[in-house]
Structure formats: C-alpha cells, structure tokens
Symmetry: none
Subunit: 212 residues, 4 copies
DNA sequence: GATGAATGAGTTTTCATTCAT
DNA sequence: GATGAATGAAAACTCATTCAT
C-alpha cells in the first residue's frame, strides 16, 4: 500500500509533467507555425495567444520572452526534422545517387507537409534577433551535415561530379527551402509531381556531364 | 531683365527639380539598403531618417507612407537592374549556353556588388505588406522573363536538357538570391571565384546528362 | 486505542498548528527582509516565493493579499522589537541619561543585527499602500513612546536640555533609521564601534550646552 | 537687411532651442515632483504625461526611457540645489557656527519650500534602478561636501566638538531629509518655527558639552 | 495544504503618421 | 522644403490575484 502510494505520487507527478509537456508542445507548434507563416517581427504574442485561445500572460508563464519562445519553437521543430533526416541517411543502403535523391525528396516532403512555413527560418536569418538566429544557424548546419556526407561519398565513389561540394550544397539548400512556396495551393497529386520534378532537377547538380 | 528673370526662374525651377530628384534618389537608395539588410518590419522610418541624417518628417514630405517609400525603393532598384539584364540578353550573341552563363554571372554580380542586400527582397515576400509585395512579385517576374527566354531557346535548340523549365528557373533564382549571403565578407578575388563556381554549378541545371 | 487515537489527533493537530505557525513565521521574516531591502513596490510575490522556495500560490494560502502579507510582516517584526525596547525601558534603573543611551544603542543593535533592512520601513512610508502604511505609523508611534518617556523624564529631572522634545525625537529617529545603511558591509567590531559613535553623537541632542 | 536676416535666422534657432529647453524643464519639474511624492516605482509615465497634459509618447520624444527621465529630473533638481548651497557656503563670512546654522536652515528651506518631496531621493536609494541611484549618490556626496567643509573648519577652530565628523554629518543629513515630512501641512509661520527648532536642535550635534 | 496554470489589468516602449511653423 | 513636436495604437512584458486539483 505504501509502495502503491509511492507509485501513485510518482505517477501523478509524471502525469502533471506530461501535461505540462503537452501544453508546451502545443504552444511551440503554434508558435512555429505562425513564425513560419509571417516571420518573427510580424507575429505578436497576442497572435500566438489568440490562436491558442489563451491570454498573452499565459505564454509568459512558460517562456520568459518572445525570443525564448522563438528559440524553443525552432529547436523543437528542428530536432524532429534533423533526427528523421539522419535516420534516413543512416539506415538506407544503395548508391549515393539513390540515397541523395531520397534525402532531397524526404527533406522537401517534411518541409511541405509538416512545416509548411518553416522555410522562413532558413531564409533571411538576419531578420531574427541574435539568439534565435544562432539556433537557426546551428539547425542549418546539422541539416547540411547530413547532405554533405552523402555528396562527399558520391564524389569519392565517382558517382557524382560537382564544381564544388560547397556551392552544390548551397544551391541545393536554397532551392529546397523554397519548395513550400512553390507547392503552396497545389493538391496532393500535383504537389507530389512538383516535388518529383524538383528532386529530379536538383539531382542534375551532381550529375556527370555529357561528353560533347 | 524680365526675360532674364524668366530664364532665371525656369533655370532655378529645373535646378530645384534636379536637386529634388537627387534627394529622392538618396532616400530610395538608403531605404533599399536598409530594407534589404533587415527586412520590412525591422526597419523603422527613424532608421532610414537617421542614416540619411534628416528627420522623419522630411521623409513624409517625399513619400506619403512607409509602404509608398518601400514600393518606390523596390521600383528604382528593380528598374535599373532589369534594364541591364534585358540589355545584356538582347545585345548578346552566341550560344544559349554562353548567354545564360553570362546572364547568371551578371545577375549575381549586380546583386553582390551594387545591391548587396537587395536580394532579401525576393526571399520571403510574405513579410511585406500587400502593395510592396505586389511590386516585388512583378519585379521577380520581369527578371524571370529574361532568364526564361534564354532557357526556352536553349531547350528548343537542343543545347539544354531540363526536367522542366519551371523548376529549373525556380532553383536557379533561389540559389542566385542567396549569393550575397554566401559572398559576404569575402574580398574581391575570392568573391569572383565564388561567383564563378556558383555560375558553373547552376549551369549544370541545364546540362545534358552523361550517357551511362 | 481510541484514546490513543484521540491523543494522537490532538497532538497532531497541535503539531500541525505549530508547523503552520513556523511556516508563517518563515514567510513573514522573508517578506520583511525583502520589503526592507527594496521597498513595497519593488518586491513581487514571486520574489518572496522564490526566496522561500515555494510557489506564489502557497503565499495566498496564508495571506489574502500582498497588502495583508506586508501588514503581517511589519506587525511581527514590530511586535518583538517594541516589546524588547519597552522591557528595556521598564526594567532598567539608573539616570535618564544612562537609560536613553542604552535604549538608543539597543534600538540600533536590533535593527542592524536582526532586521538589517527593516528600518527602510520607517523612511518613506508614503510609498506604501494605505493599510500597511497605517501599521507602520502605529509601530513608529509605539517606538516613539518609549523614547519620549525617557526624554521627558530626563528633561523634567534637569538632566537633559532640549530645544523641543518633539524635534529631538524626530532627529533621533531619523538618524537611527539610517544606522543599518551606514554599517552595511562592516565587520562586527567595526560595526560596534560605529554604533557607539552614533550613540554618542545622538546623546549630544539632549546634552546641556557649554557655558561660554 | 541681409545681416538682419542672418540675425533672424540665429534668433529663430535660439527661440526654438529656448522653447525646447523650457519644455524639457517643465517635464523635469513635473517628473521630479511626482517621483518625490511617490517614489520611482509608484509613478508611471502615464502619471507624468497626464499631469503635463500630453501623451506618454511625447515623453519618449524627449527621453529615451523612464530611467533616463528620472536621472535627468534628479540632475536638474540637484544642480540648482547644490549650487545655491555652495554659493551660500562660499560667500558667507562669520563664525563656523553661524555659517553652519545658516547652511542647515537654507538646506531645509529649499527642501521644504521648493522640492517638498525631494527627500525621497535621499532616503532609501535602493528602491531606485542602478543608473538613477548612482546620480543620487553623487548628488548626496556634493551636498555632503559643503557641510563637511564647514564642520571640519569649526572643529579645527575649536568652535565645534564632535564625536566624529562622519557620524555628525550622517545624523545631520538624516534629520534634514525628513524635514519636509515633519512640516507637511503646517502654514508658513508654523513651518518657519519648526525649521528654526530643528536647526537649533541639529546645532547641538556640534556643540561643546557642558562641564559637569 | 500546496501547486501549477491561467488571467487581465497595467506598465514600459516603439513607431507610423500628422501637423503647425 | 524641412523640422520639431505630438499623437495614438499596438507591442512586449509584469504581476497581483484566482482557481481547479
């Protein structure tokens, strides 16, 4: 019985904790959405609060400032995203070519399907305050590492021909970041086709040139 | 004396006009700079006024609102830019390949050298109010037309192989828009090399694939 | 067993009571400290709660409002303090001069040693809300009564020479209230010496003047 | 005529300047009044604005923050005050005793008559933010220097007997700072009498003791 | 008893805009 | 033409207070 009580205590603590965690996730998701849609400056905490149907004050219960909220939102969004890309890169077999194609496709699929607005995070980081900006850069670097690994491999294996790994990755990321804009308003099959075309186009960046 | 006075009057009016024009140009250049650096929201009219060393009130003498100033700034910047690209595309002979390469190179050179921050205008247009946003889109469309013309030509001539003209142009613009970010902080020769590499990389988007 | 239980119940109630009392004392001490350090406005209930390592909500379990907490804090602090001064004044024999000197010394010793910040309560009462302010005034009056008694006695006995009992007491209190500020940062012997000097200086307020 | 125009230009500039100066003085006076009456925390910029019959925004045209306004208010108030005390101390002849008495009387007269609420500046400085607090301390030090000079002189000349110059000055300032509180609500003759009594009482702090 | 969550009113601060001169 | 002054609406942030659990 005592031990039961102990378990009960622990359980209720963790239930509270879980509830808190869920609340925080709700807030972060909503915030990430809004920041993505309109950018940092154009989103007020009132906007975030209203979409969550709480008051501004409540947000300050969980986050000490707008910056902190933004950082946390970016962090969560990025953590999930990167993890999935890394898993994909690790588990997958096949040629560098197949793996890169899958990675590009997946990256855009996540962007378009789940974080339709996250591109703003990766573009124009200078409109963000210092702290969130630093997190965005870090996030970017982690995404980049996944792609860079495969590209370097492909080059080493003679599968890929690139001007420079650096510029190749830059162009690739720049284009992928815009995908959600280009697919905005399309229905699912159209969107899929668009992403396929984009993937195919981007693969040309590492293709070996024709002999003429 | 009268005629003299008349001439004087006309002369001084046109001198005044010219001075006014110069003043406006100064304002627009500075505004474009700032909007490019930080984005629409993060720039206050006080910022613009301070960098010009005039008062906020004076800006309202020339422009009726922040929006109007933004529109005008984008317009001027774009007019000059597009004109140069169009001239380049028109006057130039040679293969589609050579002409596209030159166009890409010139576009980035103008961006990096003369409007170091202006490409931010193209990146996340949804942070702009409706009116300036419309102008940005129009500007984009005009730039796009120049590139599209050559790409279509190259495809028709069998020089280029693309997945889709549309996606090819999208990827190209996305990457070119980031050039100023990537070259920031480089000295002139480094920057030139970087742009050459980028150009070379982007040309792969239209290259015919190797036979294997 | 029943009786045992009854005893237990009674015992545990009183144990609870005692615990409650102790809890309240902790809160009041901490609150008095903080209010003394920073004044009423600059102290938030979060500050109090944090220093006590409880939640704000808990404070409301014991006190209905910030005002009430402030009043109670002042009250407790004052009750003990006044009691000790009154006892000292009553039990002590000797000349009015000796007794006044001892009272001044003790008053400052309590202030400096036990309520290092509490004297700020007396300094600028108008920054406090009505209710706490009234208590502060009352507390002040009680302290004043103790001093006034001895001064009047000394004057009546011809031991003291004063311009006015009123102004003498005012100056005395004003100076004593600053003692904690002046001794802040001194070590014990230095502090003792400082208080001795202050006491000696203040005794001049009631001294008979030299004949010249 | 030309020279006249030149003068006109200069004149209108200085007229504008003077007007601006006067506006700032109005604001500072009002702010000093309010801060004195209620303390830093209890005064909102809305309060200041309302008493001046302008909007909050206007205050920010002249001062960058509440702190800056507070600092400026203290500064102006203090500059005038100190200057008058220093002039009094310098120009005046007579014994140290007469001069100290005059200084005490004048200090309190200024406090009571012109800055009825300034005492809050000198008491409990810890309720102020860092920057204003530093200015207050500096102001205090300047006042102290004037008094210290005369007291040291009087001691050197054998006119004064003190326990310690330091404690004597501390007690003196502590008491003088309270004068406005004690005289609050008195009419002019009563107030004068009260200040005379206070002055007389405070002079006892430097008096030579009776021989017994 | 105690806590975490939420609220709403109030405070500081920013800024596009207006206007008299 | 140009400026200084003023405004008002909105944003970020704070905090005493309430309440369900």
């Amino acid at each position: 019985m005592n031990s039961q009580a102990g378990v009960d205590g622990a359980a209720s603590i963790s239930r509270v904790q879980r509830k808190r965690g869920r609340r925080i996730q709700e807030i972060l998701t909503t915030a990430a959405e809004l920041f993505g849609e309109r950018g940092y400056d154009a989103v007020s905490l009132d906007d975030v609060a209203e979409r969550l149907d709480v008051t501004k004050g409540s947000l300050y219960y969980y986050f000490a400032s707008k910056d902190e909220l933004a950082v946390a939102a970016i962090e969560t969004l990025g953590a999930n995203w990167t993890a999935r890309l890394e898993r994909l890169a690790d588990t997958q077999g096949g040629s560098a070519c197949d793996r890169l194609r899958a990675l590009i496709r997946e990256h855009m699929a996540i962007a378009v399907g789940e974080y339709p607005a996250a591109l703003r995070l990766f573009l124009a980081p200078s409109t963000w305050p210092d702290d969130p900006r630093a997190r965005i850069k870090e996030l970017r670097r982690r995404h980049d590492r996944v792609f860079r690994g495969i590209v370097e491999e492909g080059v080493a294996a003679g599968e890929f021909t690139v001007t420079t790994v650096e510029t190749t990755l830059q162009c690739m990321h720049a284009a992928m970041a815009q995908a959600p804009l280009w697919t905005a308003g399309l229905d699912v099959p159209e969107c899929d086709e668009c992403l396929d075309e984009l993937t195919h186009t981007l693969m040309k960046l590492v293709a070996s040139p024709a002999e003429n």
